[in-house]
Amino acid sequence: MRIEEHPVLEFERGKEIYFYYNGKKMKAYEGETIAAALHANGITKFSESTKFHRPRGFFCGIGKCSSCLMKVDGVPNVRTCITLVKEGMVVEDNDGELPDGEVQEAKTVEMEVDIAIVGGGAAGLSAAIEASPYASVVVIDENPRPGGQLIKQTHKFFGSKEERAGTRGIEIARLLREEASKKCNILLNTSVIGYYDRGHHFLVAVNRMENVVYEIKARKIIFATGAQENMLVFEGNDLPGIYGAGGVQTLMNVYGVKPGKKGLIVGAGNVGLILAYQLKQAGVDVVAIIEAMPKIGGYMVHAAKVRRCGVPIYTKHSIKRAYGSERVEGATIVELDENWNYVEGSEQDVECDFICLAVGLTPSVRLVAQTGAEITYINEAGGWIALHNEYMETTKEGIYVAGDLANIEEASVAMLEGKIAGLHAAHSIAPVENFDEKMRAYMENLKIFREGVFGARPKMAKEKIRERYHEKMGKGRSG
């Protein structure tokens, strides 16, 4: 299942190591996650549902969905998609049995910083780079490597030169990572487990691998926790082999592992289109892209590229069910009429061994919600969203949001929003020279980026967010 040749990517695989899966010895490479290593060995069933014991595989690949929980070295409920495989590691079915032996008391590290940034993706790293010349900054990310979703984007970016147009996402991730790690402290494999208001902003974070608890007092916090992929309701949607599009990108572009032999993609937005192309690059067959809307949602350049690869795109089509015993063996797709109802007799069986859902994202709003910042449902923004102003500050003073958390948009926007939040947060601690000029430039770029046709929805979302922010703040700041 490993990709041996790739036109764009070169996989820097680490040392060859061995681990055990349910007693069986398996090969892996240092630096890859347990989930990737299992996939490479053809294992896709990771867990079972609690009540009906249905087989489950991983879905999101970034630690958000919890369907990849396994028992690792005796510890139950380990998220295998963000835990690195190690020499001699024992990976088993999750029976929930607790390990024997004493627990080593965690080491507590108290920190005091000007700005804490939660999430080391496009927005978080950009914020860190922007703010760190003026303030002490810590970035916290629960993944083993920073870069967020950029680390799996093999395509070249659009937009302005300042936002690195013409550069591939993976390359942008590398540049951001290098710059940020020179300038500030990045805590990896570390999950922020809670925000507490103690009269000041207070975060608690845990590095489970090192057994360290961080208690962080921060003057400002920028939340850049991103988003999670949407699930779609259809029969059999929990079978192993049904992935979020991003989950497949992680597997394929970060770890060089194929998700299967033949895939079906649901959703013809940019994510679905790019994914089809990336699958083809990796030597994986794509039977079709289906799209419920009457037209393709993504850029025409991407659609044309996909078509040239021989992948058909069926608009006005949806998935009715997925079937298979232990993993996906096929799917039934169906045509939709103007009222989104199934067209009778239009069912078609599609042979595939995996299905990718590219049907949008939902902001990961739970952590920022703990701060007491006002959260509102705005459909155009992808769901529940923290209200914020043009400087990305929420209704709670000193709490900022940026990137997908602040509205589902492009990575270029995430980077700009990160810069804006980072600059404003730093400036509000101690005045930054040329603040107005810098800020104006970022905002201008942001405006230009949203001018295009595809900027219409996010623009509308942002307008609503700001309108409601000001409505709310008219009554005074919360918290």
Partner: protein
């Protein structure tokens, strides 16, 4: 929204929903007004334990009769409630505890509860995960018919059964005022409209004193912020609820394997504070690890806050008031869920002019004019 109803119940928690059911069953036209959604308040945030081991006879009897109802409730309501009778294990820490425990057990047994005092060995037998030394326990009391139910399922089961018999539930509807004429309840004014009525049941939990004020009655209830947490699911290893009055801890394992529990927070406050605290989390984790050492390996998934509606004697306020038609059903001080089935039945009997199954005169709000007898068996 109806313009008039025989009874308006304020609060869509377990008590409001159960009363609506008991009234609808008796043919009363009843509506429930809820500011948020069903089980939004204490009901949906509680440990949902069902305990009959109380120090006062009123509570013990209410709880015992409630358990009798709980045992047949799924059948009666036609909906699952997730009842599990794994017992309550209450730690006895020293000789003084033992004295009180013996007194309690004697009273509890006199009303027919199968409670007994057990030693360290039996503690380990009932829940091998427990460490009596870490618990600082010399013994425990155990009542096998205690247990817990799912608070959401139970509330919905009551509400759905009530609706089937004609009760109406108005969610996201806030009571703004209650009109009283000639010392009688006249009308409930909400942000969605007005309802004329002769009976109002104040089952508003931590907001009950605000509702009471609308008819000019002062009750001594105070909202106290309480915290709880739940862990990731692990293999089911024990069935009972474990509690200690000394440490204030309570915890049990849910059907799917999560450990759910609480302990008084070092930062406990009176007032409508909703923010959880980290000191609670540390304190809970530390104490839980002492009680059940293997749980040191378990990760906590969530913590949250809710309010106890606390009275000076930790006993509920039930029954009639100086305002004709205004019925109190609040002040449960952290144990409203477990006695709701019987409470609801009694108040429905009161409103319908039936003979009450049990005397509740001692739980009337008028008791605060005299000397009070405090309920001591309170946790969380």
């Amino acid at each position: 929204m109806k313009e008039r109803a025989e009874v308006v119940v304020i609060g869509g928690g377990i008590n409001g929903s159960a009363i609506a059911y008991e009234l609808a069953k008796r043919g009363k036209e009843v509506v429930v007004v809820e500011r948020k959604w069903l089980a939004y308040g204490a009901t949906g945030r509680c440990g949902a334990g069902i305990r009959q081991q109380w120090s006062t006879k009123e509570n013990a009897l209410l709880a015992k009769k409630s358990v009798e109802i709980f045992e047949k409730l799924e059948e009666e309501l036609g909906h699952e409630i997730g009842l599990r009778q794994g017992g309550y294990l209450i730690a006895i820490h020293d000789e003084e505890d033992m004295k009180q425990a013996k007194k309690n057990v004697e009273m509890q047994r006199s009303i027919g509860l199968p409670v007994r005092i057990i030693g360290e060995d039996e503690i380990k037998e009932i829940a091998p995960i427990l460490d009596p030394k870490g618990m600082e326990a010399i013994a425990a009391t155990f009542c096998p018919t205690d247990g817990h139910a799912n608070p959401f399922k139970t509330t919905y089961a009551y509400a759905m059964a009530a609706q089937k018999m004609g009760a109406e539930f108005y969610k996201f509807t806030e009571v703004q005022d209650i009109k009283v004429e000639d010392g009688k309840v006249k009308k409930v004014i909400t942000d969605k409209g007005e309802i004329e009525t002769k009976w109002v049941v104040n089952a508003a939990g931590a907001w009950s004193s605000k509702i009471s004020k609308m008819v000019g009655l002062e009750i001594p209830n105070k909202p106290v912020r309480k915290e709880a947490m739940v862990t990731e699911p692990v293999k089911r290893t024990f069935d009972c609820m474990v509690i200690s009055f000394k440490h204030g801890i309570y915890f049990s394992q849910q059907d799917e394997g999560q450990i759910l529990g609480g302990i008084p927070s070092p930062e406990e406050k009176v007032g409508y504070y909703t923010q959880p605290t980290f000191s609670f989390l540390r304190h809970m984790a530390y104490t839980l690890g002492k009680y059940a050492p293997p749980l040191k390996h378990v990760r906590i998934l969530r913590q949250w806050t809710g309010f106890y509606d606390v009275t000076p004697d930790a006993l509920p306020i039930l029954g009639e008031t100086d305002i004709e038609g205004f019925i109190q059903c609040n002040g449960f001080s952290g144990h409203g869920f477990m006695i709701a089935p019987m409470t609801a039945k009694l108040l429905a009997q009161l409103i319908c002019g039936e003979k009450l199954d049990m005397d509740i005169e001692r739980l009337n709000m008028s008791r605060f004019e005299g000397e009070i007898v405090e309920e001591k068996s309170v946790v969380g």
